[in-house]
């Protein structure tokens, strides 16, 4: 068995060696260059065609703006030229640059605050006050000529309006004497409470009731009833003076 194995290995080696020895020799052939003797025709570019192509929009590849610009495009061209001119100057350019950056930051902050709804007064610690649109009084009691207006109302037999004017006149009188602090947003009852003198407060309270019945309650008032009301107001105002 061992002898057979040795024989096989021996025969294998011998066969390989024989194959190496029997390999054919390759002979390279010399390369032969052929000379091109055909006639070359020289072609020239048609300048007319080039001109035609260059005028066509599809063949314009650079960033040169078309000649027919809209007014909007012209504005922006002018604007960016102006910006370039300004920024090309070293000193003024840097100042303006930082100024614009500052403005842009301020605008962003402003809009951010507006969007989140932050009250500016919160930052200054004054947020307790309210911003309510205040309508100026249509009638300033210190500018009304009461006697003239009352006589006009009486001529028109508008006794209700006359009582209203009498009441406003009384308020003015009390305000002039610093017995009340006149403010359009105060109610009549608030003025009653402001009068320190008990007797006067009681009398003014009655007049206020009469005014409220006639004005807010729209009670009908004839001449006789008006005379009675007028006397009460007149007496009170006499005491106030």
């Amino acid at each position: 068995m061992r002898l057979l194995l040795i024989l096989i290995v021996f025969l294998g080696i011998t066969t390989v060696r024989a194959e190496i020895v029997q390999k054919p020799v390759v002979v390279k052939k010399a390369v032969v260059l052929k000379i091109d003797s055909s006639k070359v025709e020289l072609r020239k570019i048609d300048s007319q065609a080039v001109t035609n192509y260059s005028k066509q929009k599809d063949f314009i590849y650079d960033d040169v703006a078309p000649e027919t610009l809209s007014w909007w495009d012209k504005f922006w061209n002018w604007f960016w030229r102006l910006v370039n001119r300004i920024f090309s100057n070293k000193i003024s350019g840097s100042i303006i640059k930082f100024l614009l950056i500052g403005l842009a930051i301020a605008a962003v902050v402003f809009f951010a605050i507006k969007i989140i709804g932050l009250d500016f007064k919160l930052l200054s610690g004054k947020s307790k006050s309210l911003e309510v649109p205040f309508e100026e009084s249509l009638e300033n009691i210190h500018e009304i000529d009461f006697d003239e207006q009352i006589s006009k109302a009486l001529q028109a037999q508008n006794y209700r309006l006359a009582v209203r004017l009498l009441y406003l006149k009384t308020l003015k009188s009390l305000s002039d004497k610093q017995q009340i602090n006149w403010l359009p947003e105060k109610t009549n009852q608030a003025y009653v409470l402001e009068i320190s003198d008990d007797v006067k407060r009681s009398e003014f309270s009655k007049l206020t009731d009469q005014f409220e019945y006639i004005w807010y309650g729209e009670f009908f008032l004839d001449k006789n009833t008006f005379e009675s009301v007028n006397t009460a107001f007149h007496n009170f105002n006499q005491k106030t003076v």
């Binding site: 709804g117 932050l118 009250d119 919160l122 947020s127 307790k128 309210l130 911003e131 309510v132 649109p133 205040f134 309508e135 009084s137 209203r164 009441y167 406003l168 359009p184 947003e185 105060k186 109610t187 009549n188 009852q189 009469q210 409220e212 019945y213 006639i214 004005w215 807010y216 309650g217 729209e218 009670f219 009833t225 009675s228 009301v229």
Partner: protein, 321 residues
């Protein structure tokens, strides 16, 4: 000299009787009692808010006792269902049909105790009942009997286990009445009264002072009261300002303007007048508006309340005179 155009004698008597009845048990809280009466006269629903133990439920029960009408009480809990409030269809084996079983909402005076302890789903059951005085279940509409009044109590929303009521529901309450702690004198009086009390149940001693028909008649009287057009504009202006105010995230609805005028009419009648004055509107402005508006977060952080903002708005609007 100037005679009253509307006879308010019956109304004044009724108001005084209710005041006395409530005053027998409720010590102090004059403003609360007046607003309760005004709410009854103005045909509105009332929300009483206060910390536990300030007699919110007792006030509501007493108010209901003053009227000889049907009374229901619903204790709102987190697991309460809409059908527990409105009623439900139950199968009847005898007739082999579903029959609607009325819920506690069917009554004249409904006490909804701790209303903000039920979630929004249950709250929505009250929407139709409170506004339209009817309920719709399974496609059928059931009218609620007049007078219909919801008296609800709640703890402030920051208390444990409470939900904020939906805005739509808050808008349906005429007034939110804040029940505050009593003064020291009033608290001592409460203790004295409790010490001298004979009956275990104070409410047993209370008798009704108004019938359903009387309540209806008083409400008709209130509706007929006079309001000068400039005062209507004044009320509208106050409401309008709540919508433009930077301190408020949510302004009041036109329903608030209506409530303000109705409430002011009731206050005027209680004062013996058949017409409204600016003071009447100012008196009801905060109870009408405070629960309908929402503060902006910044103002809330500053510790301001809706009532503060409303007071500031009123101070900036000229009185029509």
């Amino acid at each position: 000299m100037l005679n009253q155009r509307t006879d308010l004698t019956q109304l004044s008597t009724a108001v005084e009787q209710i005041r006395q009845t409530l005053g027998k048990i409720i010590v102090g809280q004059k403003d609360v009692i007046d607003l309760l009466i005004a709410g009854l006269l103005a045909d509105g629903h009332l929300l009483l808010e206060g910390v536990p133990g300030v007699a919110k439920t007792l006030s509501a029960k007493l108010m209901a006792k003053c009227i000889s009408a049907s009374f229901s009480r619903i204790q709102f809990t987190p697991d309460l269902m809409p059908s527990d409030v409105l009623g439900t269809a139950v199968f009847s084996p005898k007739t082999a049909e579903f029959q609607f079983r009325h819920g506690p909402i069917f009554g004249n005076i409904i006490l909804v105790d701790e209303i903000n302890r039920a979630p929004a789903k249950t709250q929505s059951a009250l929407f139709e009942a409170m506004e339209e005085r009817q309920i719709t279940v399974d496609g059928s509409t059931y009218k609620l009997e007049e007078p219909f009044m919801v008296l609800a109590t709640q703890n402030p929303v920051d208390q444990e286990g409470t939900y904020r009521l939906p805005e739509a529901q808050l808008d349906r309450f005429l007034f939110k009445i804040e029940v505050k702690y009593p003064s020291l004198e009033d608290e001592i009086q409460i203790l004295v009264n409790q010490h001298q009390q004979k009956s275990d149940d104070q409410l047993l001693e209370i008798e009704a002072v108004l019938s359903v028909e009387q309540v209806k008649a008083l409400r008709s009287t209130i509706k007929a009261l006079f309001v000068e057009p400039k005062l209507l504009a004044y009320a509208a202006q106050i409401t309008h300002e709540t919508r433009n105010n930077k301190s408020l995230y949510l302004g009041a609805s036109p329903r608030a303007s209506l409530a303000m005028v109705n409430g002011a009419k009731a206050i005027a009648a209680m004062a013996g007048r058949d017409f409204v004055t600016p003071d009447d509107i100012i008196k009801v402005a905060a109870p009408v508006l405070a629960h309908r508006v929402m503060l902006s977060p910044e103002k809330e952080m500053e510790g301001l309340t809706p009532a503060d903002i409303i007071a500031q708005i009123i101070k900036k609007i000229e009185i029509p005179r």
